[in-house]
C-alpha cells in the first residue's frame, strides 16, 4: 500500500513519545561513577616515599615533585600537578608502587582563573627531624606543629588548601 512507510514512521514516533526518557538532569541527578573512574588525583601523603616514579611515568610532564633529604630519608615537601596539561591517562597511578597516588571520584575541577587550576596535593615545610625517627619529640610537639598536621591531613584527603571540593 502506498504510504505505508509514512504510517510506520508515525507509529514509531508515537511509541517513542511514551517511552522512558533517558536524560539525566546533571546537577540534581548523577550517574554513579564506575569504580575505576579517572577523577581528581588524591595522594596519601604518609604512604608516599617521594620516589618520583609517577613524575617519570607522566607523558606530559604534569607532575612536579620537590623533596628534601631529612636524615637518611627523602622527604616530600611539595607535590604539584599542572592539571591543565593532564590527560588523565593514569600512568602515574599505575606506576605508584606504594599505592599512594589514587584517582578519586571528584569530577568538578573547574576554576574561574587559570592559575587556580594547578592541583597542589602537598605543600609542607621540612621538619627538623622526621617524626618516626624520634617519636618522643613529636609527642610533646608545639601547637603550631599539630596545626601543620591537620593541614597535612586535609591535603592527604585530596583537597587543595582553600578550595571547594
Amino acid at each position: 500500500m502506498f504510504g505505508q512507510g509514512l504510517l510506520k514512521g508515525l507509529a514509531i514516533t508515537w511509541k517513542e513519545l511514551f517511552t522512558r526518557k533517558v536524560t539525566v538532569q546533571y546537577p540534581e541527578e548523577k550517574i554513579p561513577l564506575p569504580e575505576r573512574y579517572h577523577g581528581r588525583f588524591e595522594l596519601d601523603v604518609d604512604k608516599c616515599i617521594a620516589c618520583g616514579l609517577c613524575a617519570n611515568a607522566c607523558p606530559n610532564k604534569v607532575i612536579q615533585i620537590t623533596r628534601e633529604k631529612v636524615g637518611k630519608k627523602q622527604y616530600l615537601t611539595r607535590y604539584v600537578m599542572r592539571i591543565e596539561y593532564c590527560m588523565f591517562c593514569g600512568f602515574c597511578v599505575e606506576s605508584c608502587n606504594k599505592g599512594a597516588l589514587r584517582f578519586s571520584h571528584v569530577i568538578n575541577m573547574n576554576q574561574y582563573f587559570r592559575d587556580k587550576v594547578r592541583l597542589v596535593l602537598v605543600d609542607r615545610p621540612v621538619p627538623e627531624v622526621l617524626p618516626e625517627e624520634e617519636p618522643a619529640k613529636a609527642a610533646d610537639g608545639s601547637p603550631a606543629e599539630t596545626r601543620g598536621k591537620t593541614a597535612r591531613a586535609e591535603v592527604a584527603a585530596g583537597k587543595a588548601p582553600g578550595k571547594e571540593g
Binding site: 509514512l6 514512521g9 508515525l10 514509531i12 514516533t13 508515537w14 517513542e16 513519545l17 511514551f18 517511552t19 522512558r20 526518557k21 533517558v22 536524560t23 538532569q25
Partner: protein
C-alpha cells in the same frame, strides 16, 4: 456548564454600555474591539505556549525531557526567550531595502490575525460572522506569501532570495489544492459562511463525507505553513533560514511566532471544515462548545508537530511534482466525484 461564559461577558458588556447611555453604534464598536483584542491576546498566548509544546513534543519523541528549567516544568521558557530576543539588537545589514526589510516582520503577524477575526471559537463566538468567511480566510491566508517574499527579497542575501523564491513557488503550488479541497465541502453545504458550514455538520462531520478532501487539505496546509516535510523555505541544512537569514532579535522571533500563528489558522480551518467545529462528538455536551473547538484545534496542532518530528524534508522537485501531479488532480477528481454523488443523491431523492 460554562457554555455561555464568553458570550455572557459580551452581553453584559453590551448591557453595561447601553445602561451608560452610549449610542448603539459606538457600543457595538467597543464590543467588537474588545472581542478582537481578546482574540489577539488569546492567539498570542497560544503561540507562546505552542513554541513550548513543540519543544516538549520534540524532546519526548527523541527520548529527552525538553525545557524544564525556567518556571514550573519549563513553562516560562518561551517567555524568557522572547524577553531575551526583545533585548537584542535588530541588525540591519548594509544595502538592504530598509523599509521593506523592517516592514516584513511587523506585517507577518497580520494575515493570521486577520483570519482569526472570523473564526468561530464556540457556538456563536465568531468575533465577526462573515457570510463569506471561508473565502475571506483563504484570501487573507495567502497574503503571508508576499510578506515572506518581502523579507527574502529585501535582505540582500542569496539564501534569503532562494528562500523567498521557494516560498512563492511552494505557496502558489499548494494554495491551489488547498482551495480546491475545500470546494467539496462548500458544494455539500452550498454556503461560504463558517457558522453555517459548522451547523451543517450536526449529522456527520465532513471528515467522513470528504476524507480525501481532508487529507489533501491537511497536506496542503502543512505545506502552506512551511513545516516539515515541506519546510524547504527554511530548510536549515540547505539555506540557513530562508527568508529569515538576515533577521535577528525580535524581528526573527516575529517570523517564528507567526509560523505558529499560521499553524493555528490551518488547524482551526481543519476543525471548522472537517471536524465539526465547536460541535461535540457523540452528543457529549457536558463540555462547553468552545472547549470542544479548543480540543479539536489542539489535536490538529499535535498532528502537525507529530509529523514534523517524524518525517525528513522532501526535495524541491518532489515537492512541486507532488503538488501539481498528485494533489491538484486528486482534488479536482474529488470535486467531480462530489458533484456526481450529489447529483445522484438528488436524483434518487435521498
Amino acid at each position: 456548564m460554562g457554555e455561555n461564559i464568553f458570550t455572557g461577558i459580551a452581553e453584559s458588556l453590551r448591557a453595561f454600555l447601553y445602561g451608560a447611555g452610549v449610542p448603539p453604534l459606538a457600543s457595538e464598536l467597543i464590543v467588537l474591539i474588545v472581542k478582537l483584542l481578546a482574540v489577539i491576546i488569546f492567539v498570542s498566548l497560544n503561540v507562546v505556549w505552542l513554541v513550548y509544546m513543540e519543544r516538549k513534543i520534540a524532546a519526548y519523541i527523541q527520548c529527552r525531557i525538553g525545557p524544564n528549567r525556567v518556571g514550573p516544568k519549563g513553562l516560562l521558557q518561551t517567555v524568557a526567550d522572547v524577553v531575551k530576543l526583545l533585548a537584542k539588537e535588530i541588525i540591519i545589514p548594509r544595502r538592504v531595502d530598509k523599509v521593506v526589510y523592517l516592514a516584513a516582520p511587523i506585517l507577518v503577524f497580520v494575515p493570521p490575525m486577520l483570519a482569526f477575526a472570523v473564526i468561530p471559537w464556540g457556538d456563536g463566538m465568531a468575533p465577526i460572522d462573515l457570510n463569506i468567511g471561508v473565502f475571506y480566510i483563504l484570501a487573507v491566508g495567502s497574503l503571508s506569501t508576499i510578506i515572506f517574499w518581502m523579507g527574502g527579497w529585501s535582505s540582500n542575501n542569496k539564501y534569503s532570495l532562494v528562500g523567498g523564491m521557494r516560498v512563492v513557488a511552494q505557496m502558489v503550488s499548494y494554495e491551489l489544492p488547498l482551495v480546491l479541497s475545500l470546494l467539496g465541502v462548500i458544494m455539500l453545504t452550498g454556503t461560504l459562511s463558517i457558522t453555517e458550514i459548522v451547523n451543517a455538520q450536526r449529522g456527520t462531520w465532513f471528515i467522513f463525507a470528504q476524507p480525501l478532501a481532508f487529507l489533501i487539505y491537511f497536506i496542503a496546509g502543512v505545506s502552506e505553513v512551511n513545516r516539515v516535510p515541506f519546510d524547504l523555505v527554511e530548510g536549515e541544512s540547505e539555506i540557513i533560514a530562508g527568508p529569515y537569514t538576515e533577521y535577528s532579535g525580535m524581528a526573527y522571533a516575529m517570523y517564528m511566532l507567526a509560523e505558529y500563528g499560521n499553524m493555528m489558522v490551518i488547524s482551526c480551518m481543519c476543525t471548522i471544515m472537517f471536524l465539526g467545529g465547536w460541535l461535540a462528538p457523540f452528543g457529549w455536551t457536558f463540555l462547553p462548545s468552545w472547549f470542544w473547538f479548543f480540543i479539536k484545534v489542539y489535536l490538529m496542532i499535535f498532528i502537525f508537530m507529530w509529523i514534523r518530528w517524524t518525517y525528513p524534508r522532501i526535495r524541491v522537485d518532489q515537492l512541486l511534482g507532488f503538488g501539481w501531479k498528485v494533489l491538484v488532480p486528486l482534488s479536482l477528481a474529488n470535486i467531480f466525484v462530489t458533484g456526481v454523488g450529489m447529483y445522484i443523491y438528488r436524483a434518487i431523492g435521498w
